[in-house]
């Protein structure tokens, strides 16, 4: 780093000629340094951006390629045989549309259920003191530590006993097992930032506990609730193994549906799979576009306690 020497000032307050030259030199050096650091910063952005975007580019390039060019070795960064056939084939596949509807239904209900339950649990953990509270909080978190396969076998057996296999309910309840704990902890963090004085004031004004939660606390925690809901939606949308095990073809969601349709014993229809992956990621991208301002606020809301 170049040091910036203070410019000498004459008795009358005017910079001397040599000092002016020195000043110009310093400014030039500062400008050069600034330029260098900008180039370095932009280079870093380009490298990181390329690293992040290359998979997306590859997905798009493969989706637009013919099967023959997909298997070219060594692979070509810019595809030559472009086709839209993989997308048109997708539109004609009724089963995939069914999978997509199932995904939308199940992931949306999972998100709503997770947020509703997590709101009450998070509020309880944040604002009430009772014996076993800490243990319960840690128990909720500990449930995240179980291997999914272990939960899956138990859930399968339970749902089978209740005759609930191959239903939306089984999928929603199973997805909630892994979305809710984190939602609870996220929302607890957010409720912690809401001052207790506000709740006391509401109580003094005659608001019931129910009213306080729904009319005062919930609107304040809305960004966090939306963030938690989005998180639950995406987790539900992406789940593969629970959906594959607990639902049949009629109720199955997109991830197992896509794998079943395009990944076979002998070969994988990569271009079609990539086209389908691209199309099915659209709802998630749209959801993020609309809700991203809540997401950032919601995710960090509990990080600093006032």
């Amino acid at each position: 780093m170049t040091s910036t020497t203070p410019t000498p000032v004459s008795a009358v307050g005017r910079p001397q000629a040599s000092a002016t030259r020195a000043g110009r030199g310093t400014r030039r050096r500062v400008r050069k340094d600034l330029l260098r650091s900008r180039i370095a910063a932009w280079s870093a952005v380009v490298v990181i951006g390329a690293f992040g975007l290359l998979p997306v580019y590859w997905l798009l390039a493969t989706a637009l390629s013919t099967p023959e060019s997909t298997f070219q070795f060594p692979p070509k960064l810019i595809p030559t045989d472009l086709t839209l056939g993989n997308f048109t084939a997708l539109a004609e596949n009724d089963q995939l549309i069914k999978y997509m509807i199932n995904s939308l239904v199940v992931a949306s209900i999972t998100a709503v259920l997770s947020v509703v339950v997590a709101t009450y649990m998070g509020y309880s953990f944040s604002k009430f003191r009772y014996r076993g509270r800490r243990s319960l909080m840690h128990l909720v978190l500990a449930s995240q530590m179980f291997p999914q396969a272990l939960l899956l076998v138990t859930l399968y057996t339970v749902f089978s006993s209740f005759g609930m296999l191959n239903t939306y309910s089984a999928l929603v309840l199973s997805f909630t097992t892994f979305t809710m704990p984190l939602c609870v902890w996220m929302l607890k963090g957010i409720f912690d930032t809401i001052p207790d004085a506000l709740l006391e004031a509401a109580s003094i004004d005659g608001a019931s506990r129910w009213r306080t939660l729904h009319s005062i606390v919930a609107p304040l925690a809305a960004p966090g609730m939306i963030a938690a809901g989005l998180f639950a939606f995406v987790r539900g949308w992406n789940d593969f193994i629970f959906a594959l095990t607990l639902a049949d073809k009629e109720k199955q969601t997109l991830p197992p549906g896509l794998v079943s349709t395009y990944i076979g014993e002998f070969q994988t229809a990569w271009p079609q799979l990539m086209a389908a992956s691209l199309v099915v990621s659209v709802p998630v991208i749209v959801a993020f576009m609309f809700l991203q301002r809540y997401l950032v606020g919601g995710m960090t809301a509990g990080s600093v306690k006032s």
Binding site: T70, F71, Q72, L199, L244
Partner: protein
């Protein structure tokens, strides 16, 4: 603040209810039916399920749906088609067969038959199999512990495929028959330059089980009377030889089945290992439309003239689950695997060889030189893996593959690696 909201008692009550619910679910889980010898239901029912991974796959789905539709029409029954992706099939089926959800006919890879049969829910099809006219090798593929648990649907093998165009280019006039000749041929092919990988052998863990037939070629039995023999001199020799091919760049690093097909499809590999279906799969993804004609099945070279060429048996069987629709499902399986017209039509759609003598002799099959040559040269002497009888088969294959890879990348010596592989395999078998 500790005063607002729910009282301590109320909060505890709420969580108590929740905890009871969770505990109840666990108890119910523990009480769920398992280990029952039958999956329940009326064995005489005309309606049953047919579970097959192929029911999802674009190439197979239409032909299987056609077989099902024809059966439903003739027999006035309803078949519920059930499917899971191939890579998840075994775990899904294990769970659902154990949970009593799977009934009827089940399509199985022959490598999975033992694991499924051990669950005690499959029907012994011995009396039925006699009516089928299956070939001996096919019948063996459906056998476990002396009982016929599977009716063979398609019987083939995993062997070596050669590119005759490349061999010709390198001046190789006939397929090498011994390991020595094979090595010499690889060197000739290497001399062609242009990035040719003479033998696109598996070098990635995912497919390194392909080394087992080479171990057998060098004389390793792998399992002898319940004792794992990996680690003996023969297995060490096989891996040392593989490492030599790797170091001399006669085989390439980081190759699995998909890479091998891609290399072969572009005329950059002269030999690779695949199932009989490899011809259709590899030529379909190649730009060279003459490649299919250049593909030839080749007997795996032997250590010394007179030895038996080694190949891994490969194929599918249909097993029957005890319980609902058992009898009708058995008839359906017999029809699907033995009816000449049905097997010929299925062969035409998928190039999977039938499992019966009549099916193989059918003009549609007999005129396909690749298939008949494959059956004569490779399937004839193919054997199943001795590890298939163990439920831990996949872990055993992976344990050995990891040790072989350690040798290839220079992290381990063949002798140490094979000793370690043998010990790991033995430990897995005991579990």
């Amino acid at each position: 603040m500790t005063t607002s909201g729910i009282s301590r008692r109320a909060a505890l009550r709420m969580f108590g209810i929740g905890a009871l619910g969770a505990a109840g679910a666990g108890v119910l889980g523990a009480c769920a039916p398992s280990g029952s010898p039958s999956n329940g239901g009326d064995p005489k029912s005309k309606d049953f399920d047919f579970t097959s991974w192929s029911l999802n796959e674009e190439a197979a789905k239409p032909s299987i749906e056609k077989i099902i539709a024809a059966w439903e029409k003739t027999e006035k029954s309803t078949i519920r088609a059930v499917s899971y992706p191939y890579n998840e099939y075994l775990s899904q089926l294990t769970l659902k067969l154990g949970g009593g959800e799977t009934t009827g006919a089940v399509h199985l890879d022959i490598a999975w038959l033992a694991a499924m049969a051990q669950m005690g829910k499959l029907v012994d099809l011995g009396p039925v199999a006699g009516k089928g006219g299956y070939t001996d090798v096919a019948l063996k593929s459906g056998l476990y512990d002396g009982k016929q648990y599977g009716l063979p649907w398609n019987t083939g093998s995993i062997g070596v495929i050669a590119n005759s165009q490349l061999l010709e280019k390198a001046g190789i006039k006939k397929h090498p028959t011994t390991v020595e000749e094979f090595e010499a041929a690889l060197r000739e092919l290497k001399g062609l330059g242009g990035g040719v990988v003479p033998y696109a052998a598996a070098t990635k863990v995912a497919q390194l089980k392909d080394i087992f037939p080479w171990m057998q070629t060098f004389g390793c039995a792998m399992l002898d009377g319940g004792k794992v023999t990996i680690g003996d001199d023969a297995s060490v020799d096989a891996v040392t030889w593989y490492k030599k091919l790797h170091d001399e760049k006669l085989i390439a690093a980081d190759v699995d089945r998909f890479d091998a097909r891609a290399l072969f499809g572009q005329g950059k590999a002269a030999f690779y290992d695949d199932a009989i279906i490899g011809k259709g799969v590899t030529s379909a993804q190649s730009k060279d439309k003459t490649l299919a004609d250049a593909m030839q099945p080749m007997e795996r070279p032997v250590l010394k003239t007179g030895d038996t060429p080694q190949a891994l048996l490969w194929g599918g069987v249909i097993a029957i689950v005890k319980g609902k629709g058992q009898d009708a499902a058995t008839e359906f399986a017999l029809h699907t695997t033995t009816d000449r017209a049905t097997t010929s039509e299925y062969f035409a759609a998928r190039a999977l060889p039938p499992s019966t003598t009549v099916g193989l002799a059918a003009p549609e099959v007999a005129k396909d030189t690749f298939t008949t040559e494959w059956t004569r040269k490779i399937t004839r002497t193919a054997t199943g893996s001795p590890f298939w009888q163990f439920a831990q088969n996949a872990q055993i294959e992976e344990a050995v593959a990891k040790q072989v890879q350690a040798v290839l990348v220079g992290k381990s010596k063949p002798k140490d690696a094979m000793k370690q592989a043998g010990e790991e395999a033995a430990a897995l078998i005991k579990r």
